[in-house]
């Protein structure tokens, strides 16, 4: 970082970030080398024929591939009815939306469902702005998503 018209005070190196220290939460968020690593925690549980993916952390261009890989893995294992719980998500942008839309297309190809759980207004707002509230069934709890069975609503 440098302050305009001043001496550079910090410059994030353009090379691999080995030796740099950051106060970001550090954990395995992806397989890419270098740079600060942001955590995205994914926890999958099965409830009947439904797979519930609890997502915790920030979904952005860096962490979205991890979610995409998990959702592709579920579909390839034959889980076509998926609930993605976004209650633990602190941040979501178009890359996260892209992953969810991609997963929706995959489960629909198998006549499956992709339901979301979200009550956070700041996250719901992203779905409203992009018109995706009409595309995704969104529930206020995992229980209500599970109770809706294999139906969309």
């Amino acid at each position: 970082m440098r302050v305009a018209n001043g001496r550079p005070i910090t410059r994030i190196p353009t090379e691999a970030a080995d030796g740099c220290s950051y106060t970001m939460p550090l954990s395995a968020g992806g397989s890419r080398k270098g740079g600060p690593i942001m955590e995205l925690a994914l926890d999958v549980s099965k409830t009947g024929s439904l797979s519930v993916v609890d997502v915790k952390g920030e979904i952005d261009v860096y962490t979205a591939p991890k979610l995409r890989e998990k959702l592709i893995e579920l579909v390839s294992e034959g889980s076509y009815n998926v609930v993605v719980n976004l209650e633990g998500v602190d941040f979501l942008d178009s890359t996260g939306l892209g992953v969810l839309v991609g997963a929706l297309k995959r489960v629909k190809a198998h006549d499956g469902t992709l339901k979301l759980v979200c009550t956070q207004e700041k996250i719901l707002k992203i779905f409203k702005i992009t018109g995706l509230t009409k595309v995704f069934p969104i529930f206020d709890s995992v229980d209500s998503a599970v109770a809706s069975g294999d139906k969309d609503q």
Partner: protein, 146 residues
């Protein structure tokens, strides 16, 4: 923070890697809070900023450009401005109708543009001196609530 005329300016450079977009969000969110922006407005601005940074980082990755992505924060009396500069080729003008796939789903880029225009009070794309694009986001400091 030094002032340039009536403005305060902070510049950041990040490597063109996706991991660094979160760093920019943290830094700009802190600056926005310091400028007195409310938490809801900060959260919205973070998304618009993330969109601009993501687009810049991706254009560098796609074009194998290793130079940094530049982020410039300008704090003025009545508005906050963030400029995100990439050195990639100028974005192709794609018709909105072409941004939908065969199933009617919009592309990530279209969703990104929709979020940018909805969450910033002003958003424009300008040519960068020396090549590339500057995404210029403006936030009025006196935002109508809601």
């Amino acid at each position: 923070m030094p002032s340039v005329g009536e403005s305060s300016v902070v510049e950041l450079e990040i490597p063109p890697g996706s991991a660094y977009v979160a760093i920019v969000r943290l830094a700009i969110a802190a600056l926005a809070r310091g400028a007195g922006l409310g938490e809801e407005a900060v959260e919205e601005f973070k998304i618009a900023l993330s969109e601009a940074c993501t687009n810049a980082v991706l254009v560098h990755e796609e074009s194998s450009i290793h130079e940094p992505v530049e982020v410039r924060w300008i704090e003025e009396a009545d508005r906050l401005i963030v400029e995100v500069s990439d050195r990639g080729p100028a974005p192709e003008l794609v018709k909105e109708a072409d941004q939908f796939d065969s199933q009617g789903f919009s592309s990530r880029m279209l969703m990104s543009r929709v979020l940018l225009s909805a969450l910033a009070d002003g958003c424009e794309f300008l040519p960068r001196a020396g090549g590339g694009t500057v995404a210029r986001l403006v936030l009025d400091r006196q935002r109508p609530s809601g």
